[in-house]
């Protein structure tokens, strides 16, 4: 497969990219060999024991108990620990195994760093690493949303209605109710018809579930939009144009603010009325509306850029803090923790 990937780029470009990734790999290797190293994830296993008690109607409930007993069930969970905590534990008891390196999470961290750099590499041009990452995220996203849809909707809302006892024993022991609901066969049938779109014959059969989805969505959104986006917004725009302060004098700024908001909403709405020609008073109002729209778009643009810059900063934080261990703003890997343990020891 590497041949296939390599063949898609020009030979010179391919060599350039390989060279760049090799340089990055060498730099990372140098960084890994300096000082405390980099990119390691530590975990500690937390064990909790549970015992069951039978309540009213034979309902079983579980509660955590401090120790392990004969009839208890123990569950082990790995939780994150910082490098500072690991070093502190090592300083207190060399060779301890309570806090240990997690290989799967460490590999995950390095993979995440590779994916981050691969996406950034697109800024310099399309390349095999970016294409590989893109292909992976397409597959993972599709799988992710299918899994979420299955466990969050299909199991509790459909399977639990059709086979409640099975679902209760399998994965939802706390499921309420427990009788077969024949009405659930309707969405099941519609769902199967929807899936038949994947077959050549499914184009006509798939219309009914599609019509159902579109009709219910239209009804649902119409009610919510009319309520929250028309009635509530109009209500919020009905503002006093002359505002008095507590001592009865004119609150100039508050009045001006309300006048601007009411004028802005009316003028912008005038711009959206296309059934009337934008001439005379309507034309002038629409022009003022355009000014308000431009300011709105300008602020939306500013916020979008700010949001993206914040995300960019978060990615750099991931690379420099979590992966390369070049900076340590929270002091999670700081030697101060170790020193404190040594002093107390």
């Amino acid at each position: 497969m590497s041949d296939v990937i390599a063949n898609q780029s020009e030979p010179t470009q391919g060599r350039w990219w390989i060279g760049l990734f090799l340089v990055i790999a060498v730099l990372v290797a140098i960084r890994a060999g300096i000082g405390e190293g980099m990119g390691r994830v530590y975990v500690q296993t937390e064990s909790t024991s549970y015992v069951s008690t039978e309540g009213e109607g034979g309902r079983v409930s579980w509660s955590a108990v401090p120790g392990v007993t004969e009839d208890s069930v123990t569950i082990d969970r790995d939780v994150f620990r910082t490098a500072g905590q690991y070093r502190a534990a090592e300083a207190a008891a060399p060779g301890q195994q309570a806090i240990r390196l997690s290989w799967d999470r460490t590999i995950g961290l390095w993979l995440a760093a590779f994916f981050t750099l691969a996406v950034f590499s697109f800024l310099a041009g399309d390349n095999p690493a970016y294409k590989l990452t893109e292909s992976i995220v397409i597959g993972v996203s599709a799988g992710y949303w299918m899994v979420v849809a299955f466990w969050e909707t299909l199991v509790p809302k459909l399977l639990a209605q059709l086979a409640p006892d099975l679902v209760k024993a399998w994965c939802m022991p706390n499921l309420e109710g427990g009788a077969f609901n024949p009405v659930a066969l309707v969405p099941l049938g519609l769902g199967i018809m929807l899936l038949s779109q994947l077959t050549p014959l499914g184009r006509h059969v798939g219309r009914w579930p599609l019509a159902f989805v579109i009709g219910t969505f239209a009804g649902l959104k119409m009610v919510s939009h009319v309520e929250s986006d028309i009635i509530e917004q109009v209500r919020a725009t009905v503002l006093p144009l002359v505002v008095s302060s507590e001592d009865g004098s004119l609150a100039a700024w508050a009045s001006l603010r309300n006048v601007l908001i009411v004028t802005g909403v009316l003028c912008t709405l005038a711009y959206f009325v296309f059934s009337v020609e934008h001439k005379g008073a309507v034309g002038r109002a629409a022009r003022v509306g355009v000014w308000f729209l431009m300011i709105t778009f300008g602020s939306a643009f500013g916020f979008t850029v700010m949001g993206r810059i914040a995300l960019l900063a978060a990615r750099f934080e991931f690379l420099f803090i979590d992966w390369l261990w070049l900076i340590d703003p929270k002091g999670e890997r700081g030697m101060s923790v170790v020193a404190a343990v040594m002093q107390s020891g």
């Binding site: 939802m172 929807l194 300011i295």
Partner: protein, 231 residues
Amino acid sequence: MSRSIALLICLVGGLTMLVSPFLPMATGWANEVTDWFNILAAMAFVLGGGSLLKVQLMRLSARGPGWGYSAVTLLAFVVTLWVGLGKVGVVADASAPAVAWSGKPDDEGSAFWWIYLYVMTPITSTLFAVLAFYVASAAFRAFRAKNLEATLLLVTAFIILLGRTFAGVVLTGWLPDWASGLRLENLAVTIMDVFNTAGNRAIIIGIALGVASTGIRLMLGLDRSYLGGDA
């Protein structure tokens, strides 16, 4: 016949949702219909996954350009599906520790959680982060103060960007108290509070009116585009 039934289903489904807030006895129907809608929306994800599988398998079997990437997509898809549906590495939930499958697929430590944390999140957030460069570059090339409208947009964007950063505070921090309203951070707040509120409110009302009219057209069967060209 198929088309008429589809239009009837659309009308009944839409009307059920529409009348439910006004008729107390219809609330139960609306909840039931909402559940069906959610089930079908979940089925649509399965349909999407199936479609992806079909397209990628066709590309793979044709051995056209980039078939290697199709193989990678398929592998990623199948692995995610397998670890998610099989709850690989998931420990039982604290409320039912004796039932092995009671835990959530995305619980910390599970394989599905691992994929989300170390594959999906870094890639998607970096993809969005990279847009910062493209938005800035596009703005640099496209933004020209050619007329009043373009100038308003440009100046507002600069005020918002500077007013929300430390640079903005430093640049206009020297202004005296009586002119504090002109400081960039205060200007940004005023723009958001007054002009942006007015503009956004009108846009929201406009969108809601559009949604309502489109909904009525769909329910009455005046808009049948969703039924396909041969409907």
